[in-house]
Amino acid sequence: MGIAAEALKDFKGFNLKKLPEVEPLSSGHRACQGCGEILALRQVLKALGENVIVASATGCMEIVTSPFPQTAWRVPWIHVAFENAAAVISGVESAYKALNRKGKIDQPDVVFLAYGGDGGTADIGLQALSGALERGHNFIYVCLDNEAYMNTGIQRSSSTPYGAMTTTSPPGKKSIGQRTWKKNVAYIAAAHGIPYVATASPAFALDLMNKVKKAAMIPGPAYVHIFSPCPTGWRHETDLAVEVARLAVLTKIFPLYEVIDGRWILSRKVAKPKPVSEYLKVQRRFRHLTEKDIEDIQRRVDEEYEDLLRRCAMSGGEPEKKEGEEAQGD
């Protein structure tokens, strides 16, 4: 049995009827109305409870939760810079390891969480993330992927999807908008051979929380990539974040899966996928796309989904059945 499977032997998932009451991230923060990122972060923290130390990258979630002298954090939290959340948590985790071993403290069960946006993860912070994953620190890294640099005003990142409009990938006579396909950081994380990688969505809250709980139980690094709609940057209605996140999964654009000890496992098979156009049309960042562009995107989405299925089949990963999951699914 691999490290992760061993640690998850007695795993019990959260129950839809009885969710944890703790709110380590308090209300009263300053995120925009309908922000999918803060919703995802809240779910992550509910899943982790209060015996946690959090390192934040610069970005929306740092700015909106910590304007001095206020703080939305009921757990210890540190922000240092944009690109180094993984390196900072490496230090925190190493300190706890040394201090516990040397008998200077007795706190062996603290959970270490680092999080950053897609810019702080896929671009400028990728090196620090890769270093920390490779060194095998016992921590969880959460990427809150809203597919652009939102904090600085909706500029493209390497996680911005093909064709999307941002302020540095504007569509025009000679441009479709974002010209490159989304960088797949979850695959990059998995290529490090770490015990646990997962994708998650705040529209599937139980699944997200269960994955984060697993990530905390497994020794060594864990990476969770969370799809996080941003009404401000994606130009969709503020009450649609959850709906947009759900559509991303149901159109196969953002499939939910886990990689446990190198075994790829689909969290939910999208048997009857919706067309990507349904997802694209509710967001004004895609409104300039032509039928032909949408066909190209559909083709690419299908190919990528096939690739994922192949990985699952080849590594012998079986889709897992989860309690309560159907109730909030399609």
Binding site: S66, I78, H79, A87, I89, S90, G91, A128
Partner: protein, 391 residues
């Protein structure tokens, strides 16, 4: 009891850090600093030092890891040089703003381009405004002593600032010197265990590094500046304590044969020892020359410096780094400002010497003194020049 040993200075630096009960060391290689962290990794590997050795993937992460570890309550150490310092500089500002008592040894080296692995003070000068305390060693013994002193100062509850100990790359870092190495008990008597004022602890949650709106940023910087200024007496006190424990005395500003001196050389780092030889030679020839050298670069000991320089007819400031397109090198700017603030208008000549590993010799000092004395006699304007440039 400690003992006198013949040892490479880098190894001695690592040994003394190893005696300081450090908890976390983050390291990334760069010449000429490498021997320090290599030896620390050996101490950890052999079980002589109980610490987490984190072999990070860059200097940026080295400092980030130290920040995380120090915030979690660990005693931390890292070391770098030149380009490595440049890469970590972003986080160095944050380390001091978060008031984390990290200690770092910098084996001073020139900055690219052209790439040069040899010694000058460009990295030390880049660190000038980061809010770190900076001490400067002249020889191997001082490297050991200043590292011990660094932890004592950094962790003093009245200070809580990171400390950078500067040692000249190769010239010091790779020398084998006789060094008095204290033993663990001696170190423990001088250096109390680290008790963090605040730490990342789920039982007592705190927010570290929040956003500073315009209403608070200036106040935060003022508080930081006051902490830095307030560190000066603590630094001096820690040196006095050091003298009681180990018998070696240190001061922010050191003087050599300054009695009756009309021309004073002003230096920093290992070049001060060459300057002393030059002073001896010139004194033997009847020239009234003395030496003032700075041991403490930040906080800048302006008052002590002015006291040391007062009464001289001319001052020869030797800079080891460029400040492009200015009227003086970085050290000389400070010296002139300090004199001006105290209403003193001594004749000051500034020479930039020893860039990128170029030797600074006794003859160079003689030449600088001769030029200065000539300029003073003829009433020539004060100058700033790079010495020994081949045209």
């Amino acid at each position: 009891m400690g003992k006198r040993v013949g040892m490479e200075v880098s190894i001695a630096a690592a040994e003394v850090v190893g005696l300081c009960d450090v908890d976390v060391i983050a390291a990334y290689p760069i010449t000429p600093q490498t021997h320090i962290v290599e030896h620390l990794s050996e101490l950890v590997a052999d079980g002589h030092l109980d610490a987490e050795f984190v072999p990070v993937e860059s200097e940026h992460s080295a400092m980030s890891t130290c920040v995380g570890a120090a915030a979690a309550g660990a005693r931390t150490f890292t070391s770098t040089s030149s380009q490595g310092y440049a890469l970590m500089a972003e986080i160095c500002y944050i380390a001091s703003s978060l008031r984390l008592p990290i200690v770092m040894a910098v084996a001073n080296r020139a900055l690219s381009a052209p790439i040069s692995i040899w010694n000058d003070h460009a990295d030390m000068m880049m660190a000038r405004d980061t809010g770190w305390i900076q001490t400067v060693a002249e020889n191997g013994q001082e490297v050991v002593d200043l590292l011990l002193h660094a932890y004592r100062v950094a962790e003093d509850p009245r200070v809580l600032l990171p400390v950078m100990v500067n040692l000249d790359g190769f010239i010091l870092s790779h020398m084998i010197e006789p060094i008095y190495m204290p033993d663990k008990e001696e170190v423990q008597r001088y250096l109390p265990p680290y008790k963090p004022a605040l730490r990342l602890d789920p039982r007592n949650p705190m927010t570290f590094g929040p956003v500073g709106m315009p209403e608070v940023y200036t106040e935060a910087k003022k508080a930081q500046d006051e902490a830095m200024k307030g560190a000066l007496p603590v630094i001096v006190e820690a040196w006095k304590e050091f003298e009681k424990h180990f018998g070696r005395a240190y001061h922010p500003v050191e003087t050599y044969k300054t009695d009756g001196a009309e021309i004073l050389l002003l230096t920093m780092g290992s070049v001060s020892e060459t300057a002393m030889t030059a002073v001896d030679k010139m004194r033997a020839e009847g020239k009234k020359v003395g030496l003032v050298h700075l041991r403490l670069w930040r906080p800048f000991p302006a008052k002590e410096l002015v006291e040391a320089l007062q009464g001289a007819k001319a001052i020869v400031v030797v800079d080891r780094a460029m400040a492009f397109s200015t009227q003086s090198g970085p050290v000389c700017v400070e010296v002139k400002a300090a004199l001006f603030d105290h209403g003193i208008s001594t004749y000051v000549q500034n020479f930039v010497a020893g860039l990128g590993g170029r030797d600074v010799t006794v003859e160079d000092f003689e030449m600088m003194v001769a030029k200065t004395s000539d300029g003073l006699a003829k009433g020539l304007p004060m100058t700033y020049e790079i010495v020994n440039v081949r045209e």
